[in-house]
């Protein structure tokens, strides 16, 4: 990041935007007050391109806005009906692929998957529910791993590390058999702040700090009043 930043110009749905070489479409759009929905993205982590909710279209080709660098003169399609419907269908797929029982979930109201479903007005998924058999790992001292809700975004794998840079979470197998694992010994040794961070960095209610559920009352949770992405859209108003 020591190199001088070269300003470049691009558009999102016709809106003129400015960015710096090396920024991804998602970052650059955010800096220009344009919200591109995303789930697996976490500012500061290496982008994974895992969830594809941030899919945009450039020159007729779809691409993940979180991994694709922005280039001079790029014309990005973002808020167009067919892309929005495709994103909505991805969110619906995530809902039917796991067991997402919002009424019983500690993360409800603060959950990014749920917030995106609200933003996209998902009333019912268009796909049949899979009701997979998944387990709950509750034996750990600090961290509870709820596999029913996991969407395999890999944020925890990428971003939760101990002070000596050991990964606390890992991923087993591939594709729909992928499963997140936790090193319970390392997780138990995490300082309180980091254990809470692990919970916050999980977009759903899959990683939970034990014994602190339902702290924020209904009505005061993150997405109770305003849709996810409102902060990005408001920043430039």
């Amino acid at each position: 990041m020591s190199k001088p930043k070269t300003p470049i110009h691009f558009t999102v749905d016709g809106k003129k935007c400015q960015a710096f070489l090396g920024q991804t479409i998602l970052q650059a759009a955010k800096d220009n007050g344009v919200y591109i929905p995303a789930l697996c993205r976490w500012e500061g982590f290496e982008p994974a391109g895992a969830c594809r909710v941030c899919t945009v279209r450039v020159a007729g080709r779809t691409m993940a806005a979180c991994t694709q660098p922005v280039t001079e003169g790029m014309a990005v399609e973002n808020n167009v009906p067919d892309l929005q419907d495709m994103r909505k269908s991805l969110i619906e797929m995530l809902f039917v692929e796991g067991n997402h029982m919002c009424p019983t979930c500690e993360k409800s109201g603060n959950c990014e998957l749920q917030a995106l479903a609200y933003r996209f007005q998902m009333l019912v998924p268009r796909f049949p529910f899979q009701f997979p058999a998944r387990k709950v790992e509750a034996a750990g001292k600090k961290i509870l791993l709820e596999h029913n809700r996991c969407i395999k975004c890999l944020r925890c794998v990428r971003g939760v590390r101990t002070r000596d840079n050991k990964a606390v979470f890992g991923a087993l197998r591939r594709s729909r058999d992928k499963e997140i694992t936790v090193d319970q010994a390392l997780a138990a040794a995490l300082p309180e702040k980091q254990a809470r961070q692990a919970m916050d960095r999980c977009p759903v209610g899959s990683i939970l700090r034990k014994e602190v559920g339902f702290v924020v009352p209904i009505g005061k949770r993150k997405y109770d009043k305003e849709p996810i992405g409102s902060d990005v859209e408001k920043a430039k108003d």
């Binding site: 809902f95 067991n99 997402h100 029982m101 919002c102 009424p103 019983t104 979930c105 409800s108 109201g109 749920q114 479903a117 609200y118 007005q121 009333l123 019912v124 998924p125 049949p128 529910f129 009701f131 997979p132 058999a133 998944r134 209904i218 109770d224 009043k225 305003e226 849709p227």
Partner: protein, 182 residues
Amino acid sequence: MSKPVIATASLAGCFGCHMSFLDIDERILALVDLVEFNKSPINDIKTFTKPVDIGIIEGGCCNSENVEVLREFRKHCKVLISLGECAIMGGLPAMRNAIPVRECLEEAYFHSPTIDPADPKIMPGDEDLPIILDKVYPLHEIVKIDAYLPGCPPSADLIWKALTSLLEGKPLDLSYNLIKFD
């Protein structure tokens, strides 16, 4: 002109959605002027006596009786609404969906903490009892559903908004604060 007719039912639900329906408070007086109720636990009418305009169902389908009632509703109702989390995705009862039925029943009747080990092990199996389905199904996986109102329970405002929109023939335009899954 005769009033539009409404019917309601609770299948594999907890009646929470019906309670939320009653939470429309004094608006229920306006509703009584606007519509007529047919088969519903609210007035205790057990069978359909006429064609119904709006059918509202809470709860998913967990047994053969639920399926029968649901199909009956589909047959009699012009518009059928799936009300609440359980009707839309199975909800809490669907937590058994990844477990074989036999295992669930054995847990309930043979191994639960309230079973006296000295008692004979009896699992209800009378032919008059509805048969438990292999899993709990959302309503739209069994019959065609026309509208979905999510929530656990859906708020009274959401139910009121949906009903009044339907009665006025307006499209259902839901604001952000009305769509909640919890």
